[in-house]
Subunit: 204 residues, 2 copies
DNA sequence: AAATTTGTTAACCAAATGGTTAAACTGTTT
DNA sequence: AAACAGTTTAACCATTTGGTTAACAAATTT
């Protein structure tokens, strides 16, 4: 029943749609609930966005456009692998604490609809691993880090940072911790995850 | 349109429901599709399982009862942390390759419905971290492994093993790999992930 | 200020969907 | 073979849901 006010209608709709789609997913979301949350008539949703599908895509693109720069940060800058990992881990976890539903939303909908993947890959600003892979190979051959492929290292970084949020309910249940303890664990991970990765790959 | 035959009706329904719920989720699943896939009348679903919700819960419990023993394996046996990690990583990845929809299904539905978490925690056979935590503390104080909390280590193990499957479409898109390459990466992870973790925590 | 375009609403619609019912069919017991 | 219990089906029902329409209101243009 949270209403959002004092914005132009189109934006109000998008904000409301974001909330509903990101918590309930495409299939679980209801156009009426979005309209109510935006404080307008259901017909307006169609007036501005034509269909549920198109409104959903607007929300999805918007969400991904928040996430992509976070990934590009680690992939495209010029610092060492170690620095990249430290920066990314800390920044990414801070970012997700502010947008807790985002990674799960993206992963869930990407799993549901394979076509989205293709659409996304075509769009500009889509993260590209090439530079990162080259850099990993270089540091490996220089003996700075232990042998590992760029893909596997990237997957590990992503996994350690993203999974605790995507799997929050599972993690909370298994570790048997309260919401406060969980948040503390995530806070600790801002530095712990980077150390964990660097300990593993750095040559002594 | 895949039909499943030659089993008693109740089991046929469960098998069909598993397929539909695990790929489409609770909200996306249709009772008619389950009935078609089971090759029976829609009314039979209600005859045997009363409601969509109860059919779903049967599927969910069934799914979780496959996953739980995998987790208990690492938590409750008596080998060293290092051996546990090696065994779990290899076994778990093999397991998931056979049940690719399972982890995503569980995580998605746990996110959707917080009540499930409570129900699950109450059921027997639910994984418990206590023994693992104690063991980690012991090996840390003996200097076998570097300082880390049992919770964080467990989250890391889970993340590195589970995430690549939950986030498969995202991983494939970002790493820009084909299905075959993806499968090869996962195959490699059976040993790579364990090495990655052990490199990180083992004292030299 | 008349005309036109843009924004907004209430009422409505058709399709989909979870669920029900009453009758029929099947196999077992008496 | 009659009675009975369990199983299965076709037809039906009420509600929900995405989407449309026609009329109305508010700006904007002429």
């Amino acid at each position: 029943m949270t209403k959002i006010k004092d914005k132009n209608t189109e934006e109000q709709i998008l904000t409301a749609a974001k909330e509903v789609f990101q918590t309930k997913g495409m299939d679980g979301a209801r156009m009426q609930e979005i309209a109510d949350k935006a404080g307008i008539n259901k017909a307006m949703l169609h007036y501005y966005y034509r269909s549920k599908q198109m409104l959903f895509e607007a929300v999805f693109k918007n969400a991904f456009s928040l996430l992509a720069p976070q990934l590009n940060a680690i992939l495209n800058d010029d610092s060492t692998i170690e620095d990249k990992i430290r920066n990314f881990t800390s920044n990414y976890i801070s970012f997700i604490i502010k947008h807790p539903y985002l990674p799960n939303f993206i992963i869930q909908e990407l799993n549901r609809n394979q076509d989205f993947v293709l659409k996304l890959k075509g769009s500009k600003g889509f993260p590209n691993l090439e530079k990162f892979k080259k850099q990993v190979d270089e540091e490996v051959s220089k003996g700075i880090i232990k042998p590992i492929s760029g893909e596997q290292l990237f997957i590990n970084i992503l996994a350690l940072n993203v999974f605790p949020f995507v799997g929050k309910p599972l993690v909370m249940a298994l570790a048997n911790v309260s919401n406060e303890t969980y948040q503390q664990l995530m806070e600790d991970r801002k530095t712990q995850v980077a150390n964990f990765i660097i300990n593993s790959i750095k040559h002594i």
